[in-house]
């Protein structure tokens, strides 16, 4: 079973319980900042009169996981995309690549690591909901089986067509995500990225990387071939030159 979250911005009152619970569950330092940082992994922002949560989307085929050179980021079978701070070398490719702009860095530390929501992977492994979902007083954040949440989201849109924008954010974005969102207003008005490709981004680099072994073989053979041919050509020329000299 793969878990996820459904955030319904029409039910969010901006109480901040989610950010409080996240700080506590992950032992993050206070205060709760206005925008996500390496120390504040989720926060409710008020944009254009609407409360919208910022957090990692936990993509099905995460870009950050595919780009990390040391596999410090990992998609677990349960759904959360987790981070191993012990492996991280701080190249920040994950920050550069994430189409949602999620991972953040500890720019102020001499020994910095990346910070992002990990969907309370250890709580989830123990059968608990994520901390944010556990405390949300309005049910704006719902925790559950991911596909079930997609069905619930679609049900809400169908039941209240005048309330919601007819789009469940996270079903097609980046090939699908575990965190889904509903909104009453257009998602770009909430500062959410609407230019994320539908195809998972890792495919863009895999189509090049998968060709590397054959490239090495073919190109190597070609170079050896050129070397052999030109060497032979030089040897023939030298031989002919020598024989012309020695010709009677």
């Amino acid at each position: 079973m793969s878990v996820g979250l459904l955030f319904d911005s029409t039910r969010c009152i901006g109480c901040g319980a989610c950010s409080a619970a996240c700080k506590e569950a992950n032992a993050l330092p206070l205060p709760i900042e206005e925008h996500p940082t390496a120390y504040t992994w989720t926060v409710v922002e008020r944009v254009d009169g609407v409360n919208v949560r910022r957090l990692c989307f936990h993509c099905a085929q995460p870009t950050c996981v595919s780009v990390c050179p040391v596999s410090a980021l990992r998609k677990t079978p349960e759904g959360p995309v987790v981070y191993d701070a012990a492996r991280c070398i701080g190249c920040r490719y994950c920050i550069m690549a994430c189409p949602f702009g999620v991972p953040k860095y500890q720019w102020d530390r001499a020994i910095p690591i990346v910070g992002k929501c990990v969907l309370c992977a250890d709580r989830v492994a123990r059968g608990l909901p994520t901390a944010c979902a556990a405390v949300c007083p309005t049910g704006a954040t719902l925790f559950g089986e991911r596909n079930g949440l997609v069905r619930e989201a679609r049900r809400r849109i169908a039941a209240n067509p005048d309330t919601y924008v007819d789009h469940v954010y996270g079903v097609t974005e980046a090939g699908g995500t575990s965190v889904l969102m509903l909104s009453a207003v257009a998602f770009e008005r909430l500062g959410m990225k609407t230019d994320v490709p539908r195809r998972p981004l890792p495919l863009l680099t895999w189509q090049i990387l998968s060709k590397v072994p054959s490239f090495v073989g073919v190109f190597g053979a070609l170079l050896f071939g050129i070397h052999w041919i030109t060497k032979r050509r030089d040897a023939v020329r030298a031989y002919e030159a020598e024989h012309r000299e020695n010709a009677p």
Binding site: S66, Y105, Q106, L223, R233
Partner: protein
């Protein structure tokens, strides 16, 4: 005496460039301490919105590309068997080797935890372009070191190692060419993953190929420039009979590159942006004019191509254009989506300058004490 005249006296005694070098190194040392005690935020203008800046855009992308002269020249001599280019192979390898040392130096500053740089050796991710870059850089730096070692062995008259190396020259050079092509292209592949972020005037699925071709062009340009600077510093002459045909290869490389760029932006529709140029369009035009149109135009004229000044100026333009391209891909092209303008801090610039200065110094030392050039270098004392 006054402060100003004291400085003037000191500079006259030590030498202008040496004084500049000393100042840069002192600042460099100070910034290094700050960088490792206070973290990246204290020293750079990087941020979550703009995580890669000058040290990646210039030190890594340009450093690697500009050292492409090494693989271009070793291929010319040992794969295409054009042995008349042999005299300029060693300085090209040295430039390449130092170039890669400086790239690694830049990475040691940019990585958040550079002491963990060896992690890529034990923790793998074959799906990551960065992983491929890391391995290729490590392997190719080793290849360059091995390719350069005969110079050292010659100096200390170690005949056996020299002979062993001579016997593995061909596979070694071929390995070097393959590795170099792979990661020149993978530096471009790094940016394939951000189609919604990199500006359409630079983003294309052909990025890896464009990076290789422009690296060949820039590598040749760097070889020409390095010959010129060596001439000025060590009293060497410009080997026009070798550099002129190389310049022709550079024209071909740049020409193919330009054609591909034009095809790409016309197919994607990005070309329309050039009709009503905004900031990015102007940067694109500047890069193409300075780095491709001008040098190609100049070098097509035989009188320019066969004259040392014409050759060097064209090479300089091509190299500048290359640097502009890499900075446009990594900085200019990424600013729009990031929503911030990135300007490197003076401390970032100091580090980059310091690394380049160290490269020059190491090059001078190597030329002074090792048989890098065919005849003994008769340089003035520095």
């Amino acid at each position: 005496m006054t402060g100003a005249s004291a400085v003037q006296q000191a500079v006259r005694r030590i030498g202008f460039w040496e004084a500049v070098f000393a100042v840069v190194l002192v600042l460099f040392a100070g910034v290094t301490v700050l960088r490792f005690t206070r973290g990246l935020g204290a020293v750079t203008n990087l941020s979550d919105q703009f995580p890669w800046g000058l040290w990646i855009g210039f030190d890594v992308l340009c450093g690697v590309g500009l050292a492409a002269g090494a693989f271009t020249l070793t291929a010319t001599v040992h794969v295409f068997n054009l042995h008349r280019f042999e005299p300029i192979v060693r300085p090209a390898i040295l430039t390449g080797f130092l170039g890669y040392l400086l790239v690694i130096g830049g990475l040691l500053f940019d990585l958040g935890q550079p002491w963990r740089i060896w992690h890529a050796l034990v923790f793998w991710n074959p799906h990551s372009v960065m992983f491929e870059v890391a391995w290729c850089v490590m392997l190719y730096t080793a290849v360059l070191a091995i390719e350069f070692s005969p110079v050292v062995f010659e100096r200390w008259r170690l005949e056996r190692p020299r002979r062993i190396l001579r016997s593995i020259t061909t596979p070694l050079v071929i390995a070097g060419v393959i590795l170099s092509t792979l990661h020149q292209s993978s530096l471009g592949s790094l940016y394939l993953i951000v189609p919604s972020k990199l500006h359409p005037l630079w983003y294309t699925p052909l990025l890896p190929y464009l990076f290789v071709i422009s690296a060949i062009g820039a590598g040749i340009g760097m070889t020409i420039l390095e010959s010129y600077l060596s001439k000025r510093a060590f009293g060497r002459h410009l080997e026009m009979d070798l550099l002129e045909p190389l310049a022709r290869c550079m024209v071909v490389a740049l020409g193919v590159y330009a054609l591909l760029r034009v095809i790409v932006i016309m197919q994607s529709g990005a070309a329309a942006m050039l009709l009503n140029p905004g900031y990015e369009a102007w940067m694109f035009l500047l890069e193409m004019v300075v780095g491709v149109v001008l040098p190609v135009g100049l070098l097509l004229v035989e009188r320019v191509r066969t004259h040392p000044t014409g050759l060097v100026v064209s090479a300089l333009l091509a190299v500048l254009g290359f640097v502009m391209n890499r900075l446009n891909v990594s900085v200019t092209g990424m600013e729009g989506a990031a929503g911030v303008r990135y300007v490197p801090s003076w401390m970032e610039v100091t580090v980059s300058l310091g690394l380049v200065a160290l490269g020059f110094a190491l090059f001078a030392l190597a030329v002074r004490y090792l048989p890098v050039f065919p005849e003994p270098a008769r340089g003035r004392s520095s």
